[in-house]
Symmetry: C2
Subunit: 192 residues, 2 copies
DNA sequence: AAGTAAATTGTCACATTTGACAATTTATTC
DNA sequence: GAATAAATTGTCAAATGTGACAATTTACTT
């Protein structure tokens, strides 16, 4: 009975548009009007599906983190096949921008404004911590004889290089920077 | 004749306040009202000394970059005395937050919103490029027999770790992350 | 075709942000 | 103390962002 609900689909579309806006204008720079235009909807509909601004921000944070965890987990799972080191470098420092490139910009936006949203801060921090742990796990698989602590330290360095490479993306640095990042990442893994 | 001008001092105070706001609220989150309150002045006075919002943003970018270049240059100069490696690590990854910690957050804010301000983007990019070059120079001094290209790659990795460590600061990560960063930085320099 | 649940649009009031300019106050020089 | 240059404050209009709710349209079920 009644009209079929588009709620889930609409929510996803709205949050996608929100994400694209954050990647371009930052969190505070993304007005509801911006988001609505980006999503091709009226502003009033955002409120209808997701509530007020704060609700939107929290929903976005949850979605981005959830997506990230999903992507991370499934990517790392595929590492069974092929060279784990190579796969890890390709995952952390992809040569061609794919989906997740924009996502790290959203993450940066959320981090930047996390002073205002303590719940968001906790979500992001939790993800970063888990992410480092997962990378450390991979390193342990690559080199089982290496001490856990050393794997972890190296993992954090790799994550730093990966995150920073992405967060500098708006500057449109020359390709040699990405090349250097990949080279150093390979070295770090090799010399573990 | 006439009243003495406070212009230079006032401009500096305003931009300092602006910087603190950006570090806390992000660039778009820093309203003129915010900045005025932070500076302890009326909003109208911002306009009097520095013009409209865009003018303020560009002035801030110029000042931050100029300060950065100054700090960087003078810090690296002092490296004559003492252990260059240790000094470099302390400079890139200070154990206790000093002045420049807030500045990197400002830089991040400017990067994030650089889509809107192409001139700002160019300024920041130029600084990042020069910064990597300067660190590479230091590495060459530490290990003259190492190839220039290897110094440069390592320098970029160090810069990534440094920048990322600072940009994650709002998440209030545990000290072990900074410790790992410093350890890996020392390793990178040692194994150059 | 009637009923109904949900989508979609429209609109109003309120607060915030910004830009521009006029009016006033203050400190210095002659 | 008169002239003057600059600081400082005040005010107003325009634009934008936000929240809330009413009204309408659409698609499905029976």
């Amino acid at each position: 009975m009644g009209r079929p609900s588009l709620a889930e689909q609409r929510k996803a579309e709205i949050l996608d548009a929100f994400g694209r806006c954050v990647a371009r204008f930052g969190l505070e720079g993304s007005t509801l009007e911006h988001i609505a235009e980006e999503a091709g909807m009226k502003r009033s509909i955002l409120r209808h599906y997701l509530g007020n601004r704060d609700d939107l921000v929290h929903s976005l944070a949850r979605k981005v983190i959830a997506d990230y965890r999903g992507i991370t987990e499934s990517s790392l799972d595929t590492f069974r096949d092929g060279n784990r080191s190579t796969n890890l470098v390709d995952f952390l420092l992809p040569t061609q921008a794919f989906g997740s490139t924009e996502q790290l910009l959203i993450l940066e936006g959320l981090i930047g404004a996390s002073g205002k949203y303590p719940r968001v801060m906790k979500l992001v921090r939790g993800y970063v911590e888990d992410f480092v742990d997962l990378v450390a796990q991979q390193l342990k698989l690559i080199s089982p004889e290496t001490a856990r602590s050393r794997c972890w330290d190296t993992a954090y360095a790799l994550v730093c290089i990966s995150f920073n490479q992405e967060s500098l993306q708006p500057l449109k640095l020359e390709p040699k920077y990405l090349k250097a990042a990949r080279k150093m990442a390979r070295d770090l893994i090799k010399n573990i």
